[in-house]
Each structure stands twice: as structure tokens, then as C-alpha cells.
Symmetry: C2
Subunit: 356 residues, 2 copies
């Protein structure tokens, strides 16, 4: 029972501090809001003492109620299990601190219902803006926010019918870069593996970029195909196997290209099951998203500028919160190719053609 500050449970309020300091609430408020220089040093000292003595902390709720702004911004994350999201989050957090916002993180755990619920909750807490990286929120749910004057910025994926700021990877260029790498390493058959992409714009873009790039290369040089893989039902994995076998029978060098980390992991697990620990010598795998195990597996990837994406999202949000009225912007940041052993010219070739 050391310093038992009469602080009997209830936290001190501004009134308590005023009384303790022998002054009015206004002065306390002024002090809190850094209206320094407007207070006599003598008063300021008394205030500081009182605050310390009572361990006073201004109540943000009351503050927000009065001012109309509570410095809260919502961050809706589809899946924290995905390292991509966590990394973006870190950028968001850092930027939030820099601007003085408190990020309210909502994790929808891939549940569309939860997404909607969280969005409502955020409304209810009167967040000043929302960063959304969601799976299935519809245009109308979000529209209700924007109509209410709450800016929204989308991360990674666009939402059909909604015009707002959006920031994410330059998917087209990322895919192009990856394919160029694969081709330069001598692969002549590419299999793009992606989750059902109709609903998710980033997946759609990646798939389109894949087809376009392959097309531009000319079928004669490189052939490509897209495989849709549903993580909850991986029967399409057998199709992948078939493709691999066929390619290798024809002495073609095939490489799998996973559209993101979850897909890459699923595919890797399967390949390991089928080919044993040495699977990497049998088939080349690369992916978008540079997850922690990529290094362990020696897998080539395109690393997303996740941190910057998060930062940028907050910047956009901040501008709009501050009242900027500009047309919806789109910020596409470049990815970075991380070359590892999985796609080296030597690897996974049934017969070694080429190489000095």
C-alpha cells in the first residue's frame, strides 16, 4: 500500500484538476491543448503538479464528443493470418502515430459478416476515416460511410462501383517482372495459380497481366495457363500435377507462379507431399508475396512494398480528413523481385539444356 492517492478508483476529471490547481477548467484545457505561452509560468506549474498528483488523463471520448473529432481511424483487415496484412498494418500504424491518429484495428478473419459488422461498429465509434482491406464488403456498405462524410481508402483491392482512393501493388508490372525473370531463366511453360478471382480486383489484375504478358511474348516462345485454386477445396491440385507431368514428358521447363502467399504455401505443401523434401529440384515455384518461409524454402518471390502501402493509405486518408476534395486517386507501388534458388536456370529441369 504505497502511495494510495485518494484516487479511489474513479479517474480524475478536468474539474478535479482545476480544483486541485485552484483554477478553472479552461486553463487546464488550454494547458492540455498546448496553448502554451498563454498561461503564466506560475499557473502552468501548478497545473502540472495537479495533473501529476492526480495522475490525470484527459478523456478522449468527451474530448471527441465536443470537438467532433476523436482522432480514431478504422483499419479493417480481411485476414491477419496473411503476413501481407500484418506488414501493411505496420505501415499504417507508423503513419497513424506520425499524424496523431489512433488506429482501430478490426480483424474480419475472412468472414464477410464480420466485415459488415465491424464497419458498422466503426461508424458507431465515429471514426474519422477508414482503411479497408476487405474480402467481400459491397459497394453499398462502404457508400454508407462515404455518404456520411467518412473518407475511405482501399488497400490492395478495389470495390466494384465505389470511387475512392486506393493503394496497392502495381500488379501488372509485378507480374510482368516475374514472367520476364522466369523466361530469362529458361522456363518455357508457366502455370499461374490463383484463388477464385472474380470478386477480388487484385487477383483479377494479376491474372489478366499474366495472360497479357504471355500473349505479348508470343505463344511460340512460352506457353502459359491459369489454374484456379480454392484453398478450401484443393482438388485442382491434381490438375497441377497433370500439367507438370505432361510438361516434363515433353521436356519442357515448367514453373509454377503463385498469385499470393497462401496459394504458394498450399502448393508447396502439396508438392512436398508428392515429391518429398526434394520437391524443389523437381518443380520450380515462385510467388507474389515474400513470406517468412520463402527464404527457408529458397523460393523466388516478388516482395510487395507493404509498408509503403500502409503509409500511403494513411496519407490519403489524412488529406481527406483534413478536408481535401480531389478526385479519387490510385496509387500503385512497384514490387521488388527477390531471386532465390527455386528459379535458378539449373533447377527443376528434367534434362539440362543450356547453361555454361
Amino acid at each position: 500500500m504505497a502511495r494510495d492517492n485518494f484516487s479511489n478508483d474513479r479517474r480524475a476529471t478536468i474539474t478535479d484538476v482545476a480544483r486541485e490547481a485552484g483554477t478553472g477548467k479552461t486553463s487546464i484545457s488550454r494547458y492540455l491543448n498546448g496553448e502554451t505561452g498563454v498561461l503564466s509560468t506560475e499557473l502552468r506549474e501548478r497545473i502540472e503538479e495537479a495533473i501529476a498528483k492526480l495522475d490525470y488523463r484527459p478523456n478522449q471520448m468527451a474530448r471527441g464528443l465536443k470537438r467532433g473529432r476523436n482522432r480514431l481511424v478504422g483499419m479493417l483487415v480481411a485476414d491477419l493470418t496473411n503476413p501481407y496484412s500484418v506488414e501493411v498494418l505496420q505501415g499504417v500504424e507508423a503513419a497513424c502515430h506520425a499524424y496523431g491518429y489512433m488506429p482501430l484495428i478490426c480483424h474480419a478473419a475472412n468472414e464477410v459478416d464480420l466485415e459488415r459488422r465491424y464497419l458498422q461498429l466503426l461508424t458507431t465509434y465515429r471514426v474519422e476515416g477508414v482503411i479497408v482491406n476487405a474480402l467481400g464488403v459491397k459497394e453499398d456498405t462502404l457508400e454508407s460511410l462515404t455518404r456520411g462524410g467518412v473518407p475511405v481508402v482501399l488497400v490492395d483491392r478495389a470495390v466494384e462501383g465505389l470511387v475512392t482512393d486506393m493503394v496497392g501493388l502495381d500488379n501488372t508490372e509485378a507480374v510482368r517482372m516475374a514472367i520476364r525473370h522466369l523466361v530469362s531463366q529458361g522456363f518455357d511453360e508457366l502455370l499461374f495459380v490463383v484463388q477464385p478471382y472474380a470478386q477480388v480486383s487484385s487477383r483479377r489484375m494479376r491474372e489478366a497481366a499474366f495472360r497479357d504478358t504471355i500473349g505479348a511474348l508470343g505463344v511460340s516462345r512460352v506457353s502459359g495457363a491459369t489454374i484456379v485454386l480454392d484453398l478450401d477445396n484443393d482438388e485442382t491440385l491434381v490438375e497441377i500435377d497433370a500439367r507438370i507431368d505432361a510438361a516434363q514428358r515433353q521436356n519442357r521447363r515448367i514453373a509454377l507462379f503463385a498469385a499470393n502467399a497462401p496459394v504458394a504455401l498450399r502448393v508447396a505443401l502439396h508438392l512436398k507431399d508428392r515429391h518429398g523434401v526434394d520437391w524443389q529440384r523437381r518443380v520450380a515455384l515462385m510467388s507474389i508475396d515474400d513470406s517468412e518461409w520463402a527464404e527457408l524454402a529458397g523460393m523466388t518471390t516478388v516482395r510487395q512494398p507493404t509498408y509503403s502501402i500502409g503509409e500511403r493509405a494513411v496519407e490519403f486518408l489524412h488529406e481527406r480528413i483534413e478536408g481535401a476534395v480531389v478526385a479519387a486517386r490510385e496509387c500503385l507501388l512497384p514490387g521488388e523481385l527477390v531471386v532465390r534458388a527455386s528459379t535458378s536456370a539449373m533447377a527443376s529441369s528434367p534434362t539440362n539444356h543450356g547453361g555454361t
Copy 2:
């Protein structure tokens, strides 16, 4: 410009709804608080209409200000990059929803300063309780909360000098289980690899359990040693190498036992660097924490009951928020051994002794 609800930016307040429904604010408030049966069906309908028309959402801030409780609970996470934390988080979130709380997630990103800052911020937002999984918060920072009447429950690690509810893995039993497994598989030299553990109670417990268990086994049968690995400065990795080499020269079967996932990953990366993709055939590795790549690497682990830990933490918190005044509790949940190839009797034995 479809349905442009006069809702000119500003969100509707309870007063607006009252006016729209042609009644007083009290009735609206009653409706919102589910004081059903106290309102004539006719009035209720009018209210529902008005709410829908204005797209009204009660302001939680104002609500909390008045009631003195805002249903916010803080969750301080040391490192979201660690899958352990994310999993615990999921349990926390689920339980929060069940009890009607809104979890305010704070990610300290392993920065002690941030931890303290976030804790203050949470105070400021008048959270009703806090779940803490932190790296370096001191007893006094937390004490300031509890003294303010805000319950705190610790996850995974205890904080010196602070008596509160705590929930985590039953470290002692988990380590014992792991060692039993290793020994049953014929390993006779165990190397426990752990991050600096003086400050972190769970690491300390694991290390102690390791030594105790080995001791109880009798030095004649199995020998063990602890290696401290600092992730930011892995020069101790050479010591690990030396131990491995020595053991193998003496024809002893050595196994590495990582105290958690980050350590396991660092060690695995190193072993792969040193021994190539086949490293698993050279040295056995197991760990506490069943991360996503464990399956890919075929590594034996002890899976923590992360989800339950999160749930349990919220339960404790809820009870205290509801006013329970009981002595500090400690809830140690059992881990689950997940056996994979890395510790099979065959693996990583320099000379195969034993096995049918």
C-alpha cells in the same frame, strides 16, 4: 446521385430521430437499449422507420460518456509478426464479440516505448480492461491501470511484481512432453535454444523446465544444454554448430529444441545455409509454436492452445469488469505435441542404431 438523403454529411443524432419520429429522445433511447415492451408497437414502428430513413447510428462515445462504460477493451500485442500473437488475437476477438466488447488492438512492434505509449492511449480512451502480451512494460505502468480500477490480464508472460490474472501455456508440461518425445525417439543429446530469457517469464519457465526435466532423467541417459540466441545478433549460431559437430563425432544423436517459432525459424535458416536443403537429414529440430511453415518443413512442434488462451483471457477480464473481486488467477493450458518427420527415430542419426 441516387437517394440523396438530406443527410448532409453530418450524421443523424438521437434528437433528429426523435423529431423525425415525432416523439422525445427518451423513447428513442429506450428503443436502442432494447427496453422493448415498454413502447407501444405503434411508436416502435415509427421509430424504426425514422432510424432507417436517417441511417442513424447511436454515438458510442456519447453513450460511453454518459454510462461510464464504453465496451472497449484494449489488447496490447508485442509482435503481430509472431503467428502466436495473431492466433491468440483471434480467440480474443471471438470472445469479445460474444461478450459485446470491442477490442482495441495495439501493436507495439517489439518497441518498449510504443508499449508504454499505447497503454497510456488506452487509458485515455477509457477502456474497461486490458489484455497485455508485452515485451517490456514494467510493473509500474500496469499498476497505474489497475490502481485506476482497470482490470489487466496478462497473456503468455507474467510481469514481475504485478499480481493479476494470467493465462498462457503450461510451459513446464509442454517442455516435459517434448523432451519425453525426443528421448523416446532415441535422441540422447538435447540443445535448448532460447532468446535472452531473463526478462520474459515464459522463456524463463521453459528454460527451467528443460533443465529440470533433463536433470530428472539422469545425466547418464541424456545430456542437455541451453543456448541463448539473440535474434539480432546470431553469433551464437556458431556455438550451435560446434555442439552439433561434437555430438556427431561422438556418435551421439543430437536434437535442437527451439523455445519458440522465431528461434526455430532463425535456426532452420542457418542450418539450411550450412547443410543445404537436406539439413533435416543432418540435424533434428523441433520447437514450441506450430507455425505455418512447420508443416512444410516437416518439423515436430508443440502447438499452443492459442485460441483458448485468447478466449480465456477475455473471460477473466469480463468477470473483473463485471465486478468480480477474487484473488489473481493463473490459467495454464496444455500444449499439444505435433509429431512430424524431423524427429522420427530414423532421422538425423549419423549412424543408424536401433529401429526395426
